[in-house]
Protein backbone atom coordinates (compact mmCIF):
# COMPACT_ATOMS: atom_id res chain seq x y z
CA UNK A 1 0.00 0.00 0.00
CA UNK A 2 1.20 3.52 -0.77
CA UNK A 3 2.62 5.28 2.30
CA UNK A 4 0.01 8.08 2.15
CA UNK A 5 -2.72 5.46 2.31
CA UNK A 6 -1.06 3.76 5.25
CA UNK A 7 -0.97 7.14 6.99
CA UNK A 8 -4.69 7.54 6.39
CA UNK A 9 -5.88 4.02 7.13
CA UNK A 10 -3.83 3.32 10.24
CA UNK A 11 -4.59 0.23 12.30
CA UNK A 12 -6.18 2.33 15.03
CA UNK A 13 -8.52 3.98 12.55
CA UNK A 14 -9.47 0.67 10.96
CA UNK A 15 -10.09 -0.78 14.41
CA UNK A 16 -12.39 2.07 15.48
CA UNK A 17 -14.22 1.73 12.15
CA UNK A 18 -14.81 -1.95 12.72
CA UNK A 19 -15.71 -1.62 16.40
CA UNK A 20 -16.83 1.94 17.00
CA UNK A 21 -16.79 2.86 20.72
CA UNK A 22 -19.79 4.48 22.40
CA UNK A 23 -21.89 3.61 19.36
CA UNK A 24 -25.35 3.73 20.91
CA UNK A 25 -28.25 5.97 21.69
CA UNK A 26 -28.31 7.71 25.06
CA UNK A 27 -31.41 8.05 27.19
CA UNK A 28 -31.82 10.42 28.92
CA UNK A 29 -29.44 12.92 27.36
CA UNK A 30 -28.74 16.61 27.86
CA UNK A 31 -27.85 17.40 24.26
CA UNK A 32 -28.69 15.68 20.99
CA UNK A 33 -27.56 17.04 17.61
CA UNK A 34 -27.67 15.55 14.13
CA UNK A 35 -24.72 16.08 11.79
CA UNK A 36 -25.07 15.72 8.06
CA UNK A 37 -22.70 15.89 5.12
CA UNK A 38 -25.03 16.51 2.15
CA UNK A 39 -22.30 15.96 -0.42
CA UNK A 40 -21.72 12.35 0.50
CA UNK A 41 -24.78 11.51 2.59
CA UNK A 42 -22.87 10.75 5.81
CA UNK A 43 -24.99 11.36 8.87
CA UNK A 44 -24.54 10.94 12.58
CA UNK A 45 -26.46 11.70 15.74
CA UNK A 46 -24.46 12.77 18.75
CA UNK A 47 -25.71 12.50 22.35
CA UNK A 48 -24.14 14.27 25.32
CA UNK A 49 -24.51 14.24 29.07
CA UNK A 50 -23.26 17.35 30.84
CA UNK A 51 -22.75 18.14 34.53
CA UNK A 52 -21.45 21.44 35.93
CA UNK A 53 -19.82 22.47 32.66
CA UNK A 54 -18.08 19.12 32.23
CA UNK A 55 -18.84 16.51 29.53
CA UNK A 56 -19.81 13.37 31.41
CA UNK A 57 -20.66 11.06 28.51
CA UNK A 58 -20.77 11.14 24.69
CA UNK A 59 -22.30 8.56 22.36
CA UNK A 60 -23.17 8.48 18.66
CA UNK A 61 -25.18 6.67 16.02
CA UNK A 62 -25.15 6.89 12.25
CA UNK A 63 -23.52 5.69 9.09
CA UNK A 64 -20.45 6.89 7.29
CA UNK A 65 -17.07 5.99 5.90
CA UNK A 66 -14.16 4.58 7.90
CA UNK A 67 -12.72 8.04 8.47
CA UNK A 68 -15.94 9.57 9.77
CA UNK A 69 -16.81 6.54 11.92
CA UNK A 70 -13.32 6.30 13.46
CA UNK A 71 -13.15 10.04 14.01
CA UNK A 72 -16.51 10.04 15.83
CA UNK A 73 -15.58 6.97 17.85
CA UNK A 74 -12.27 8.42 18.99
CA UNK A 75 -13.82 11.81 19.65
CA UNK A 76 -16.39 10.33 22.02
CA UNK A 77 -13.57 8.79 24.05
CA UNK A 78 -11.50 11.96 23.99
CA UNK A 79 -14.27 14.33 25.09
CA UNK A 80 -15.35 12.57 28.25
CA UNK A 81 -14.22 14.49 31.33
CA UNK A 82 -13.41 17.66 29.38
CA UNK A 83 -14.75 21.11 30.18
CA UNK A 84 -16.51 23.12 27.47
CA UNK A 85 -13.43 25.26 27.12
CA UNK A 86 -11.11 22.27 26.69
CA UNK A 87 -13.49 20.74 24.15
CA UNK A 88 -13.55 23.98 22.15
CA UNK A 89 -9.77 23.99 22.13
CA UNK A 90 -9.69 20.37 20.96
CA UNK A 91 -12.08 21.29 18.16
CA UNK A 92 -9.83 24.04 16.87
CA UNK A 93 -6.65 22.00 17.34
CA UNK A 94 -8.19 19.08 15.46
CA UNK A 95 -9.29 21.41 12.68
CA UNK A 96 -5.79 22.85 12.40
CA UNK A 97 -4.27 19.38 12.36
CA UNK A 98 -6.36 17.98 9.50
CA UNK A 99 -6.37 21.09 7.34
CA UNK A 100 -2.66 21.89 7.68
CA UNK A 101 -0.24 22.00 4.75
CA UNK A 102 0.87 18.40 4.13
CA UNK A 103 4.40 19.53 3.30
CA UNK A 104 4.86 20.99 6.81
CA UNK A 105 5.31 19.06 10.02
CA UNK A 106 1.85 18.30 11.45
CA UNK A 107 0.59 20.86 13.95
CA UNK A 108 -0.27 18.75 16.96
CA UNK A 109 -2.10 20.77 19.62
CA UNK A 110 -1.53 19.99 23.27
CA UNK A 111 -5.03 18.61 23.87
CA UNK A 112 -5.09 16.15 20.97
CA UNK A 113 -3.23 13.17 22.41
CA UNK A 114 -4.30 10.01 20.45
CA UNK A 115 -6.17 12.09 17.88
CA UNK A 116 -2.78 12.99 16.42
CA UNK A 117 -3.09 10.00 14.07
CA UNK A 118 -5.58 11.95 11.94
CA UNK A 119 -2.66 14.05 10.65
CA UNK A 120 -2.63 11.76 7.58
CA UNK A 121 -5.86 13.36 6.38
CA UNK A 122 -3.91 16.46 5.32
CA UNK A 123 -2.88 14.47 2.25
CA UNK A 124 -6.54 13.87 1.33
CA UNK A 125 -8.35 17.21 1.17
CA UNK A 126 -11.48 15.49 -0.19
CA UNK A 127 -11.75 13.57 3.08
CA UNK A 128 -11.32 16.40 5.62
CA UNK A 129 -15.07 16.79 5.99
CA UNK A 130 -15.40 13.10 6.84
CA UNK A 131 -13.11 13.59 9.83
CA UNK A 132 -14.56 16.90 10.98
CA UNK A 133 -18.29 16.14 10.71
CA UNK A 134 -18.42 14.75 14.26
CA UNK A 135 -16.47 17.71 15.61
CA UNK A 136 -18.81 20.23 14.02
CA UNK A 137 -21.68 18.28 15.50
CA UNK A 138 -20.06 18.27 18.96
CA UNK A 139 -19.42 22.00 18.74
CA UNK A 140 -23.09 22.58 17.96
CA UNK A 141 -24.05 20.35 20.90
CA UNK A 142 -21.85 22.33 23.27
CA UNK A 143 -23.19 25.64 22.02
CA UNK A 144 -26.75 24.35 22.37
CA UNK A 145 -29.70 25.69 20.46
CA UNK A 146 -29.03 23.84 17.22
CA UNK A 147 -30.72 20.54 16.45
CA UNK A 148 -28.78 19.79 13.31
CA UNK A 149 -25.57 20.84 11.62
CA UNK A 150 -24.34 20.44 8.07
CA UNK A 151 -20.82 20.53 6.64
CA UNK A 152 -22.01 22.60 3.67
Amino acid sequence: MASDLRELYQEVILDHNKKPRNFREMEPFDRKVEGFNPLCGDRLTLFMKIEDGVIKDVTFQGSGCAISTASASMMTEALVGKTFEEAEQMFSEFHDLVTGDPTDEPKVGEHLDKLEIFAGIREFPARVKCATLCWHTAKAALEGGQKSVSTE
Binding site: L8, C40, D42, S63, A66
Partner: protein, 421 residues
Protein backbone atom coordinates in the same frame (compact mmCIF):
# COMPACT_ATOMS: atom_id res chain seq x y z
CA UNK B 1 -23.34 7.70 -43.51
CA UNK B 2 -20.02 9.55 -43.31
CA UNK B 3 -16.82 8.10 -44.71
CA UNK B 4 -15.58 7.54 -41.16
CA UNK B 5 -18.64 5.66 -40.01
CA UNK B 6 -18.48 3.48 -43.12
CA UNK B 7 -14.91 2.73 -42.11
CA UNK B 8 -15.93 1.94 -38.55
CA UNK B 9 -18.78 -0.27 -39.72
CA UNK B 10 -16.56 -2.18 -42.13
CA UNK B 11 -13.93 -2.60 -39.41
CA UNK B 12 -16.63 -4.22 -37.29
CA UNK B 13 -17.66 -6.49 -40.15
CA UNK B 14 -14.08 -7.49 -40.89
CA UNK B 15 -13.24 -9.06 -37.60
CA UNK B 16 -15.78 -7.71 -35.15
CA UNK B 17 -12.88 -6.05 -33.36
CA UNK B 18 -13.25 -2.53 -32.05
CA UNK B 19 -9.99 -0.64 -32.42
CA UNK B 20 -10.03 0.89 -28.95
CA UNK B 21 -6.37 1.97 -29.07
CA UNK B 22 -7.05 4.04 -32.16
CA UNK B 23 -9.81 5.91 -30.36
CA UNK B 24 -7.86 6.25 -27.13
CA UNK B 25 -5.20 8.11 -29.08
CA UNK B 26 -7.83 10.80 -29.78
CA UNK B 27 -8.20 11.59 -26.04
CA UNK B 28 -5.14 13.49 -24.76
CA UNK B 29 -6.18 13.23 -21.11
CA UNK B 30 -5.95 9.44 -21.18
CA UNK B 31 -2.15 9.70 -21.18
CA UNK B 32 -2.21 11.70 -17.93
CA UNK B 33 -0.49 10.26 -14.89
CA UNK B 34 -2.36 10.37 -11.58
CA UNK B 35 -0.23 9.93 -8.46
CA UNK B 36 2.47 8.39 -10.63
CA UNK B 37 0.04 5.89 -12.16
CA UNK B 38 -1.58 5.81 -15.55
CA UNK B 39 -5.04 7.31 -15.33
CA UNK B 40 -7.88 4.78 -15.40
CA UNK B 41 -10.92 6.95 -16.00
CA UNK B 42 -14.10 5.15 -14.99
CA UNK B 43 -16.23 8.15 -14.09
CA UNK B 44 -17.80 8.70 -17.49
CA UNK B 45 -21.36 8.83 -16.21
CA UNK B 46 -20.40 11.94 -14.22
CA UNK B 47 -18.68 13.56 -17.18
CA UNK B 48 -16.94 12.16 -20.23
CA UNK B 49 -13.53 13.24 -21.57
CA UNK B 50 -13.02 15.18 -24.78
CA UNK B 51 -11.26 14.01 -27.93
CA UNK B 52 -8.81 16.43 -29.54
CA UNK B 53 -11.32 16.86 -32.39
CA UNK B 54 -13.63 18.60 -29.89
CA UNK B 55 -10.85 20.47 -28.09
CA UNK B 56 -9.50 21.72 -31.42
CA UNK B 57 -12.91 22.66 -32.80
CA UNK B 58 -13.57 24.81 -29.73
CA UNK B 59 -10.17 26.51 -29.90
CA UNK B 60 -10.41 27.00 -33.65
CA UNK B 61 -13.88 28.53 -33.43
CA UNK B 62 -12.77 30.96 -30.72
CA UNK B 63 -9.61 31.79 -32.65
CA UNK B 64 -11.11 32.37 -36.07
CA UNK B 65 -14.91 32.42 -36.13
CA UNK B 66 -16.25 33.81 -32.87
CA UNK B 67 -18.77 36.64 -32.62
CA UNK B 68 -22.27 37.02 -31.25
CA UNK B 69 -24.92 35.29 -33.30
CA UNK B 70 -28.15 36.37 -34.99
CA UNK B 71 -26.87 39.97 -35.20
CA UNK B 72 -26.24 39.51 -38.89
CA UNK B 73 -24.54 42.47 -40.48
CA UNK B 74 -20.88 41.77 -40.05
CA UNK B 75 -18.95 38.87 -41.46
CA UNK B 76 -17.91 37.12 -38.24
CA UNK B 77 -21.42 37.19 -36.86
CA UNK B 78 -22.63 35.42 -39.95
CA UNK B 79 -19.87 32.82 -39.70
CA UNK B 80 -20.65 32.24 -36.02
CA UNK B 81 -24.40 32.04 -36.66
CA UNK B 82 -23.81 29.49 -39.38
CA UNK B 83 -21.67 27.36 -37.06
CA UNK B 84 -24.25 27.65 -34.24
CA UNK B 85 -27.20 26.78 -36.45
CA UNK B 86 -25.13 24.09 -38.15
CA UNK B 87 -24.72 22.44 -34.76
CA UNK B 88 -28.50 22.54 -34.32
CA UNK B 89 -28.88 20.55 -37.49
CA UNK B 90 -26.26 18.05 -36.29
CA UNK B 91 -28.24 17.59 -33.08
CA UNK B 92 -31.45 17.17 -35.07
CA UNK B 93 -29.87 14.39 -37.12
CA UNK B 94 -28.30 12.84 -33.99
CA UNK B 95 -31.76 12.49 -32.40
CA UNK B 96 -33.57 11.89 -35.70
CA UNK B 97 -35.87 14.82 -35.04
CA UNK B 98 -37.89 16.12 -37.95
CA UNK B 99 -37.05 19.82 -37.79
CA UNK B 100 -34.19 21.99 -36.55
CA UNK B 101 -36.66 24.27 -34.76
CA UNK B 102 -37.54 21.41 -32.42
CA UNK B 103 -34.00 21.59 -30.97
CA UNK B 104 -33.54 24.07 -28.12
CA UNK B 105 -30.10 24.76 -26.71
CA UNK B 106 -30.03 24.90 -22.92
CA UNK B 107 -27.36 24.61 -20.21
CA UNK B 108 -27.84 20.89 -19.82
CA UNK B 109 -30.36 18.18 -19.05
CA UNK B 110 -31.22 19.82 -15.73
CA UNK B 111 -32.21 23.08 -17.39
CA UNK B 112 -34.12 21.21 -20.10
CA UNK B 113 -36.30 19.49 -17.49
CA UNK B 114 -36.77 22.73 -15.56
CA UNK B 115 -37.81 24.44 -18.80
CA UNK B 116 -40.54 21.87 -19.43
CA UNK B 117 -41.68 21.90 -15.80
CA UNK B 118 -41.86 25.70 -15.70
CA UNK B 119 -43.24 26.42 -19.13
CA UNK B 120 -45.33 23.43 -20.13
CA UNK B 121 -46.11 22.44 -16.57
CA UNK B 122 -47.37 25.74 -15.22
CA UNK B 123 -49.43 26.38 -18.35
CA UNK B 124 -51.08 22.97 -18.44
CA UNK B 125 -51.33 21.51 -14.95
CA UNK B 126 -53.98 22.12 -12.34
CA UNK B 127 -54.54 21.03 -8.77
CA UNK B 128 -55.15 17.30 -8.61
CA UNK B 129 -53.37 16.52 -11.90
CA UNK B 130 -50.63 13.92 -11.66
CA UNK B 131 -46.99 13.75 -12.72
CA UNK B 132 -45.59 10.25 -12.93
CA UNK B 133 -41.89 9.50 -12.44
CA UNK B 134 -40.03 6.39 -11.24
CA UNK B 135 -37.93 5.45 -8.23
CA UNK B 136 -34.88 5.38 -10.53
CA UNK B 137 -34.70 9.07 -11.30
CA UNK B 138 -31.81 11.48 -10.83
CA UNK B 139 -32.60 14.41 -8.53
CA UNK B 140 -32.88 16.62 -11.62
CA UNK B 141 -35.88 14.58 -12.76
CA UNK B 142 -37.50 14.72 -9.31
CA UNK B 143 -37.03 18.20 -7.86
CA UNK B 144 -38.35 20.29 -10.82
CA UNK B 145 -41.58 18.26 -10.63
CA UNK B 146 -41.81 18.74 -6.87
CA UNK B 147 -41.50 22.49 -7.40
CA UNK B 148 -44.20 22.32 -10.08
CA UNK B 149 -46.45 20.37 -7.70
CA UNK B 150 -46.00 23.06 -5.03
CA UNK B 151 -46.90 25.75 -7.55
CA UNK B 152 -49.94 24.06 -9.10
CA UNK B 153 -51.25 21.62 -6.52
CA UNK B 154 -50.44 18.73 -8.85
CA UNK B 155 -49.44 15.41 -7.27
CA UNK B 156 -46.18 13.53 -7.85
CA UNK B 157 -46.54 9.76 -8.32
CA UNK B 158 -43.56 7.43 -8.20
CA UNK B 159 -43.46 4.01 -9.87
CA UNK B 160 -41.50 1.40 -7.90
CA UNK B 161 -38.42 -0.56 -9.01
CA UNK B 162 -37.49 -4.20 -8.44
CA UNK B 163 -34.53 -5.62 -6.55
CA UNK B 164 -32.73 -5.80 -9.90
CA UNK B 165 -33.23 -2.07 -10.43
CA UNK B 166 -35.90 -2.34 -13.14
CA UNK B 167 -39.13 -0.36 -13.25
CA UNK B 168 -41.98 -2.63 -12.16
CA UNK B 169 -44.10 -2.12 -15.28
CA UNK B 170 -47.27 -3.71 -13.83
CA UNK B 171 -47.20 -1.12 -11.06
CA UNK B 172 -46.24 1.63 -13.49
CA UNK B 173 -49.32 0.85 -15.61
CA UNK B 174 -51.58 1.10 -12.56
CA UNK B 175 -50.27 4.61 -11.92
CA UNK B 176 -51.09 5.86 -15.41
CA UNK B 177 -54.61 7.24 -15.45
CA UNK B 178 -56.77 10.05 -16.66
CA UNK B 179 -55.28 12.45 -14.10
CA UNK B 180 -51.78 11.80 -15.45
CA UNK B 181 -50.57 14.82 -17.38
CA UNK B 182 -46.79 14.37 -17.52
CA UNK B 183 -44.70 11.20 -17.46
CA UNK B 184 -40.97 11.81 -16.91
CA UNK B 185 -38.51 8.92 -16.96
CA UNK B 186 -34.83 8.46 -17.63
CA UNK B 187 -33.80 6.39 -20.62
CA UNK B 188 -30.79 4.97 -18.77
CA UNK B 189 -30.38 5.15 -14.97
CA UNK B 190 -27.27 7.08 -13.91
CA UNK B 191 -26.95 5.21 -10.62
CA UNK B 192 -27.54 1.65 -11.85
CA UNK B 193 -27.27 1.67 -15.65
CA UNK B 194 -30.73 0.14 -16.22
CA UNK B 195 -32.05 0.75 -19.75
CA UNK B 196 -35.73 1.54 -19.32
CA UNK B 197 -38.49 0.54 -21.76
CA UNK B 198 -39.16 4.13 -22.75
CA UNK B 199 -41.03 3.19 -25.95
CA UNK B 200 -43.63 1.31 -23.88
CA UNK B 201 -43.70 4.11 -21.27
CA UNK B 202 -44.30 6.79 -23.90
CA UNK B 203 -47.10 4.72 -25.48
CA UNK B 204 -48.75 4.34 -22.06
CA UNK B 205 -48.54 8.10 -21.49
CA UNK B 206 -50.11 8.80 -24.86
CA UNK B 207 -53.00 6.41 -24.21
CA UNK B 208 -54.23 8.77 -21.49
CA UNK B 209 -53.28 11.98 -23.30
CA UNK B 210 -50.24 12.75 -21.14
CA UNK B 211 -46.95 14.05 -22.52
CA UNK B 212 -43.75 12.10 -21.98
CA UNK B 213 -40.37 13.60 -21.19
CA UNK B 214 -37.31 11.38 -21.47
CA UNK B 215 -34.16 12.26 -19.52
CA UNK B 216 -31.48 11.09 -21.93
CA UNK B 217 -28.41 12.29 -20.00
CA UNK B 218 -27.07 8.74 -19.66
CA UNK B 219 -28.42 7.26 -22.89
CA UNK B 220 -27.00 9.77 -25.37
CA UNK B 221 -23.38 8.54 -25.03
CA UNK B 222 -24.34 4.88 -25.37
CA UNK B 223 -27.46 4.35 -27.51
CA UNK B 224 -28.75 5.72 -30.79
CA UNK B 225 -31.61 8.11 -30.01
CA UNK B 226 -34.59 8.25 -32.34
CA UNK B 227 -37.17 10.65 -30.96
CA UNK B 228 -39.56 9.97 -33.83
CA UNK B 229 -39.46 6.18 -33.48
CA UNK B 230 -39.99 6.64 -29.72
CA UNK B 231 -42.65 9.29 -30.32
CA UNK B 232 -41.13 11.24 -27.38
CA UNK B 233 -42.74 14.60 -26.67
CA UNK B 234 -39.63 15.95 -24.94
CA UNK B 235 -36.13 14.47 -24.83
CA UNK B 236 -33.15 16.02 -23.03
CA UNK B 237 -29.42 15.38 -22.89
CA UNK B 238 -26.15 17.12 -21.94
CA UNK B 239 -23.12 17.83 -24.09
CA UNK B 240 -20.54 16.98 -21.44
CA UNK B 241 -21.72 13.38 -21.20
CA UNK B 242 -21.21 12.91 -24.94
CA UNK B 243 -17.57 14.06 -25.03
CA UNK B 244 -18.45 17.74 -25.56
CA UNK B 245 -18.01 20.79 -23.30
CA UNK B 246 -19.96 21.52 -20.11
CA UNK B 247 -22.63 24.19 -19.79
CA UNK B 248 -24.61 23.20 -22.85
CA UNK B 249 -27.29 20.66 -23.62
CA UNK B 250 -30.39 20.01 -25.61
CA UNK B 251 -34.12 19.95 -25.18
CA UNK B 252 -35.98 18.33 -28.02
CA UNK B 253 -39.70 19.10 -28.10
CA UNK B 254 -42.38 18.40 -30.66
CA UNK B 255 -42.94 21.62 -32.61
CA UNK B 256 -46.66 21.82 -31.82
CA UNK B 257 -45.99 21.56 -28.09
CA UNK B 258 -43.17 24.11 -28.14
CA UNK B 259 -45.23 26.58 -30.15
CA UNK B 260 -48.07 26.44 -27.65
CA UNK B 261 -45.80 26.82 -24.61
CA UNK B 262 -45.17 30.20 -22.96
CA UNK B 263 -41.56 31.44 -22.80
CA UNK B 264 -39.30 30.14 -20.04
CA UNK B 265 -37.06 33.19 -19.67
CA UNK B 266 -37.40 36.69 -21.08
CA UNK B 267 -34.63 38.68 -22.71
CA UNK B 268 -32.82 39.33 -25.95
CA UNK B 269 -33.13 37.01 -28.92
CA UNK B 270 -36.41 35.50 -27.69
CA UNK B 271 -38.49 38.43 -28.89
CA UNK B 272 -39.54 39.69 -32.29
CA UNK B 273 -40.88 43.05 -31.13
CA UNK B 274 -40.78 44.91 -27.80
CA UNK B 275 -42.58 47.99 -26.53
CA UNK B 276 -43.48 48.75 -22.92
CA UNK B 277 -47.09 47.98 -23.76
CA UNK B 278 -46.61 44.78 -25.71
CA UNK B 279 -43.95 42.24 -26.57
CA UNK B 280 -44.17 39.66 -29.31
CA UNK B 281 -42.14 36.54 -28.87
CA UNK B 282 -39.83 35.11 -31.44
CA UNK B 283 -40.62 31.83 -33.20
CA UNK B 284 -39.30 28.52 -31.87
CA UNK B 285 -36.61 27.57 -31.03
CA UNK B 286 -35.52 31.17 -30.34
CA UNK B 287 -38.47 31.82 -28.06
CA UNK B 288 -36.70 29.54 -25.57
CA UNK B 289 -33.16 30.86 -26.07
CA UNK B 290 -33.18 34.19 -24.23
CA UNK B 291 -29.88 36.01 -23.99
CA UNK B 292 -26.56 35.27 -25.64
CA UNK B 293 -26.24 31.50 -25.50
CA UNK B 294 -23.17 29.33 -24.98
CA UNK B 295 -22.14 29.79 -28.61
CA UNK B 296 -18.73 28.14 -28.40
CA UNK B 297 -20.20 25.34 -26.29
CA UNK B 298 -22.83 24.60 -28.92
CA UNK B 299 -20.16 24.47 -31.62
CA UNK B 300 -18.12 22.14 -29.41
CA UNK B 301 -21.14 19.91 -28.89
CA UNK B 302 -21.59 19.78 -32.65
CA UNK B 303 -17.99 18.60 -32.99
CA UNK B 304 -18.63 15.96 -30.31
CA UNK B 305 -21.61 14.66 -32.27
CA UNK B 306 -19.49 14.50 -35.43
CA UNK B 307 -16.94 12.52 -33.47
CA UNK B 308 -19.48 10.04 -32.05
CA UNK B 309 -20.99 9.56 -35.50
CA UNK B 310 -17.52 8.83 -36.90
CA UNK B 311 -17.05 6.06 -34.35
CA UNK B 312 -20.65 4.91 -34.79
CA UNK B 313 -23.14 4.31 -32.00
CA UNK B 314 -23.74 0.71 -33.08
CA UNK B 315 -20.04 -0.04 -32.77
CA UNK B 316 -19.90 1.85 -29.45
CA UNK B 317 -22.91 -0.03 -28.09
CA UNK B 318 -21.52 -3.43 -29.06
CA UNK B 319 -18.08 -2.75 -27.61
CA UNK B 320 -19.42 -1.26 -24.37
CA UNK B 321 -21.75 -4.20 -23.92
CA UNK B 322 -18.76 -6.52 -24.08
CA UNK B 323 -16.89 -4.30 -21.61
CA UNK B 324 -19.80 -4.21 -19.17
CA UNK B 325 -20.27 -7.98 -19.32
CA UNK B 326 -16.57 -8.46 -18.59
CA UNK B 327 -16.67 -5.99 -15.70
CA UNK B 328 -19.85 -7.51 -14.28
CA UNK B 329 -18.32 -10.96 -14.30
CA UNK B 330 -14.92 -9.97 -12.90
CA UNK B 331 -16.04 -7.49 -10.24
CA UNK B 332 -19.05 -9.63 -9.31
CA UNK B 333 -16.75 -12.61 -8.71
CA UNK B 334 -14.73 -10.86 -5.99
CA UNK B 335 -15.71 -12.18 -2.56
CA UNK B 336 -17.57 -9.65 -0.45
CA UNK B 337 -18.63 -7.56 -3.45
CA UNK B 338 -22.29 -7.03 -4.21
CA UNK B 339 -23.44 -5.51 -7.49
CA UNK B 340 -26.27 -3.02 -7.13
CA UNK B 341 -28.44 -2.92 -10.24
CA UNK B 342 -28.58 -6.19 -12.13
CA UNK B 343 -31.19 -5.41 -14.77
CA UNK B 344 -31.35 -7.57 -17.87
CA UNK B 345 -30.68 -4.52 -20.04
CA UNK B 346 -27.96 -2.17 -18.87
CA UNK B 347 -25.60 0.39 -20.31
CA UNK B 348 -22.29 1.72 -19.16
CA UNK B 349 -22.62 1.53 -15.35
CA UNK B 350 -21.40 -0.90 -12.70
CA UNK B 351 -22.52 0.09 -9.20
CA UNK B 352 -21.27 -1.99 -6.31
CA UNK B 353 -20.71 -2.17 -2.58
CA UNK B 354 -18.02 -4.03 -0.65
CA UNK B 355 -18.88 -5.71 2.67
CA UNK B 356 -17.69 -3.63 5.59
CA UNK B 357 -16.17 -0.89 3.44
CA UNK B 358 -17.86 2.43 2.83
CA UNK B 359 -17.84 3.54 -0.84
CA UNK B 360 -15.86 6.69 0.03
CA UNK B 361 -13.03 4.59 1.33
CA UNK B 362 -13.27 2.54 -1.86
CA UNK B 363 -12.99 5.75 -3.89
CA UNK B 364 -9.98 7.03 -1.95
CA UNK B 365 -8.04 3.78 -2.19
CA UNK B 366 -8.76 3.34 -5.91
CA UNK B 367 -7.74 6.96 -6.49
CA UNK B 368 -4.32 6.15 -5.05
CA UNK B 369 -3.98 3.62 -7.86
CA UNK B 370 -4.93 6.25 -10.44
CA UNK B 371 -8.46 4.85 -10.85
CA UNK B 372 -11.22 7.45 -10.98
CA UNK B 373 -14.66 6.22 -9.96
CA UNK B 374 -17.60 7.92 -8.28
CA UNK B 375 -18.46 7.12 -4.69
CA UNK B 376 -21.68 8.47 -3.28
CA UNK B 377 -25.41 8.63 -3.87
CA UNK B 378 -25.02 9.76 -7.50
CA UNK B 379 -27.69 12.45 -7.04
CA UNK B 380 -30.19 9.62 -6.78
CA UNK B 381 -30.78 9.28 -3.05
CA UNK B 382 -34.17 7.54 -3.46
CA UNK B 383 -32.40 4.76 -5.38
CA UNK B 384 -29.96 4.33 -2.49
CA UNK B 385 -32.85 4.31 0.01
CA UNK B 386 -34.59 1.64 -2.08
CA UNK B 387 -31.59 -0.66 -1.64
CA UNK B 388 -31.07 0.35 2.00
CA UNK B 389 -27.55 1.66 1.41
CA UNK B 390 -26.14 5.17 1.88
CA UNK B 391 -24.03 5.09 -1.25
CA UNK B 392 -22.36 2.91 -3.86
CA UNK B 393 -19.07 2.86 -5.68
CA UNK B 394 -19.79 3.35 -9.36
CA UNK B 395 -17.53 2.52 -12.27
CA UNK B 396 -18.94 3.91 -15.50
CA UNK B 397 -17.58 3.20 -18.95
CA UNK B 398 -17.02 4.89 -22.26
CA UNK B 399 -15.89 3.30 -25.54
CA UNK B 400 -12.29 4.34 -24.79
CA UNK B 401 -12.09 2.09 -21.73
CA UNK B 402 -10.37 -1.28 -21.95
CA UNK B 403 -10.51 -4.69 -20.33
CA UNK B 404 -7.04 -3.98 -18.90
CA UNK B 405 -8.57 -1.01 -17.04
CA UNK B 406 -11.24 -3.28 -15.61
CA UNK B 407 -8.47 -5.63 -14.49
CA UNK B 408 -6.85 -2.66 -12.72
CA UNK B 409 -10.18 -1.96 -11.01
CA UNK B 410 -10.43 -5.57 -9.84
CA UNK B 411 -6.84 -5.45 -8.50
CA UNK B 412 -7.78 -2.27 -6.65
CA UNK B 413 -10.81 -3.94 -5.09
CA UNK B 414 -8.63 -6.82 -3.88
CA UNK B 415 -6.29 -4.25 -2.33
CA UNK B 416 -9.21 -2.63 -0.52
CA UNK B 417 -10.32 -5.98 0.84
CA UNK B 418 -6.80 -6.51 2.14
CA UNK B 419 -6.67 -3.12 3.88
CA UNK B 420 -10.04 -3.62 5.52
CA UNK B 421 -9.58 -7.39 5.95
Amino acid sequence: MTAQSVRAASAMLDGGAFDVERYRADFPILTTQVRGKELVYLDNAASAQKPRQVIDAIAEFDRASYANIHRGVHHLSQVATKAYEGARDKVRAFMNAEQDREIIFVRGTTEAINLVASSYGRANLQAGDEILITHLEHHSNIVPWQILCQQTGAVLKVAPISDEGEIVMDEFKKLVGKKTKIVAVNHVSNALGTINPVDEIIALAHEVGAVALIDGAQSAPHLAIDVRALDADFYAFSSHKIFGPTGVGVLYGKAALLEAMPPYQGGGDMISYVTFEETRYNRIPYKFEAGTPNITGVVGMGAAIDYIQSVGLDAIGAYEHELLEYATERVGAVEGVRLVGTAAKKAGVLSFVIDGVHPHDVGTILDQAGIAIRAGHHCAQPVMDRFGIPATARASFAFYNTKAEIDALVDGIHQIRKVFG
